[in-house]
Subunit: 439 residues, 2 copies
């Protein structure tokens, strides 16, 4: 017999767990909608080459990679951006730029388990393609901040830390670092906060053997503000665009959420400009989201040159933070109305009433077994229904049904004729979807 | 360079394609909600054993099966029911029965490509667990019919064809068939309509060698109505429950949608009672959905005895039928309002207005490049925005903005102060989600 749990690093979402997932996804969709983003999706697996081509053969270690029955090398997708770039490349110049695209992909990484990391997880991906200007970076970062606000987080909970790969490169070159040493240095910097200082120093000495340059490079890491960099008085074109970005974010009213942080480099190799992370204020090591500009990826996959900027936010850390902060919503009611038969007329009257309620778009259910009224009330509680409707008995003879508000115990009589419409109006506060139920 | 398309049998969902997917999923969720169903999810892959245990080693041929880096045999899920049964079994008696659970899983089958079949697809799964009575079968079939109605289908488009494995077994045994021949006969019957008559006859002779029994069994296949079966005058307990099911569906007002069809057996081995299919009226070979009762599956996975009934409907056939019938919705607007700068004040005024609109829950965007008004209007059309808002120029001096209805060209002046709230009220017909945007 298989183990009752699923594979290691995966999750079973029972309804109470899945309610939180759906809350997060719905909130993500609302944010994207307000910013004019449209959703796309791609295959859950891609050719292995799509990932190794971008990130090197090294990446395969972290992938669920396998051969299909025809011997093709495929891999479960570890991130969405390669698929996005492939899809954009495939349509060539037939897509009307700019694109504002989002997706909520399910992703897979074969990696060591740790808090906030699983082998199977979801992400929100938002990308703007076709705009080289920093206005797109600003719009995207604004959306990422509103994404946090939509979930219930405030300025106390998180910060967006922003840097620029280009600025870092300009500073490193000015410090005398050979151009081919920049890439390995980004990779080292990205893990700086996760490794002991001695390990960092050792690896740094490997990448930058000369002491003079190493000292100059180390000074770059310590730069704290854009003003400090400006005061260096050297020509740094990337500094202008970073300053313009902060200016735009001030126009968005978001200056209080963003900070320059030269330590932000992002692990992925494909970033070409501004990079940013949303970081939990309390435990500054947990990245909630990360993103940046990647102007060369679409052309790498054979598409036209397409400037692009995007970010991804994972569900695992967000859900944990929401629970810690107490903003995870309670498990919602399974149905608005639980119908209760007070005599043996039982099924037929309940079915008829349920048809009417459902036709009005209301959620309802009833016991599928002929049990006592007390047992039916217990089922109504188990379904977390805010209302019970008693059908039959004396009330029926008087042409009425009895509504009970479960939280207070308050009862009210409602004429049976037109009852569904009356109940729909009663809970109109939470508008119901139009029902296309057959009649 | 990898091919620009994804792996064989998978789909890329560009926004116009994904809009239809999301329309279908949202419709499915509304149906489920009205019937008091709660959503659950599970891992995208499971141990291979979870599938082979239920369906035999044979199933592996149709699976994406592979080993993970620790040598575990895993498979991408080809259906959701094994995961559902595993999850219910894992919680043992801690789940409050009955469960009304739904899921919209993404599934994978390595099979030959044909119309309506892909290697990667989505399904709606609805299941009621914990009710042995046929009332659950009726509630579930009613939900499946409303699912069709919610998508825009009518009684002309489809039919629910219902039979009972138990009834078939009782009839076969009465015809003299040995009990151990029933299973292979179900499998043969399930493919009857898909294979030539001569092949069918040959396989039938293999399963039922004796001519007398074979003739009697063949007569069973030809039974067309419940009345005809009743007239046989033999003891058939399953007939009573099937008649009760049709009686209940009449109470639901759905008699016009359902037909008894002894030819419905369903391919899966785990069904134990009533089975049904929703079949496209025009081309009677295309099953839109299929389901039935499976009372033994949860205990097979080590859980308590749990009666269960469920169905699954696939997205591929449904989307095709919707397109054929012309009920697939048009590609919705990317945003409600496209903001247009009429002078060089450009970005700042647009950003401020966008913040206000988005704060009211409205979807809006603007050009991220400083381009002419004509080009901005072209972008508004590309975004399919029903409204453009012109900001700046003479109107701004007068404290106004100009609203343009894109479809008619009609223009209207609106006071800049309070404009966002006024526009929100204007399109209130389609209520907007409350925005939790940070301020």
């Amino acid at each position: 017999m298989p183990t009752p749990s699923g594979p290691k690093g995966t999750r079973d979402f029972y309804p109470e767990d899945n309610a939180l997932q759906e809350f997060i996804f719905a909130s993500w969709r609302r944010t994207c909608h307000r910013y004019g983003f449209e959703s796309y999706e791609g295959p859950m697996f891609e050719s292995l080459e799509l990932f190794t081509q971008k990130s090197g053969a090294e990446i395969e270690k972290q992938l669920y990679a396998f051969q299909d029955k025809a011997g093709r090398n495929i891999a479960l997708r570890p991130e969405m951006t390669p698929t996005l770039a492939r899809m954009v490349a495939a349509r060539g110049n037939n897509l009307k730029m700019p694109l504002r695209w989002f997706s909520i992909p399910r992703l897979f990484r074969y990696e060591k388990m740790q808090k906030g990391r699983l082998r199977e997880f979801f992400q929100l991906n938002m990308d703007i393609l076709g705009i080289a200007e920093v206005t797109a970076d600003a719009e995207l970062i604004a959306a990422s901040i509103d994404m946090m606000g939509d979930l219930g987080f405030t300025a106390e909970d998180f910060r967006v830390r922003i840097s620029s790969r280009t600025l870092l490169e300009e500073l490193f070159l000015a410090a005398g670092l050979p151009a081919d040493r920049c890439e390995p240095l980004y990779a080292l910097l990205d893990k700086k906060s996760k490794i002991p200082e001695s390990v960092f120093a050792g690896e740094l000495a490997g990448i930058v053997p000369g002491e003079t340059v190493r000292d100059a490079v180390t000074k770059v890491f310590r730069l704290e503000t854009l003003d400090e960099i400006k005061a260096m008085g050297i020509r740094l074109p990337a500094l202008d665009s970073l300053e313009r970005l902060f200016g735009l974010l001030t126009q968005y009213g978001l200056a209080g959420y963003v900070t320059f942080d030269i330590g932000i480099v992002r692990g992925l190799a494909y970033y070409t400009g501004i990079v940013f992370e949303i970081i939990d204020s309390k435990r500054s090591l947990r990245a909630i989201a990360g993103g940046g500009r990647y102007d060369k990826l679409v052309s790498l996959y054979g598409g036209p040159v397409t400037p692009a900027v995007g970010f991804a936010a994972g569900d695992v850390v967000l859900a944990e933070l929401m629970k810690e902060k107490g903003i995870a919503p309670p498990h919602p009611a399974r149905s608005d109305f639980f119908l209760i038969a007070v005599d043996n007329s039982f099924q037929e009257a309940l079915i008829a009433f349920a048809r009417e309620l459902r036709h009005c778009g209301l959620a309802c259910e009833f016991s599928l077994k002929n049990v006592t009224v007390g047992r039916q009330l217990a089922l109504a509680n188990a379904a977390r229904s805010p209302y019970a409707v008693f059908i039959g008995g004396r009330e029926e003879a008087a042409g009425m049904v009895k509504l009970k508000i479960m939280a207070t115990g308050e009862e009210r009589l409602i004429p049976r004729t037109g009852a569904a419409a009356a109940l729909a109006e009663m809970i109109e506060g939470s508008p119901q979807p139009a029902a296309g139920q057959v009649t």
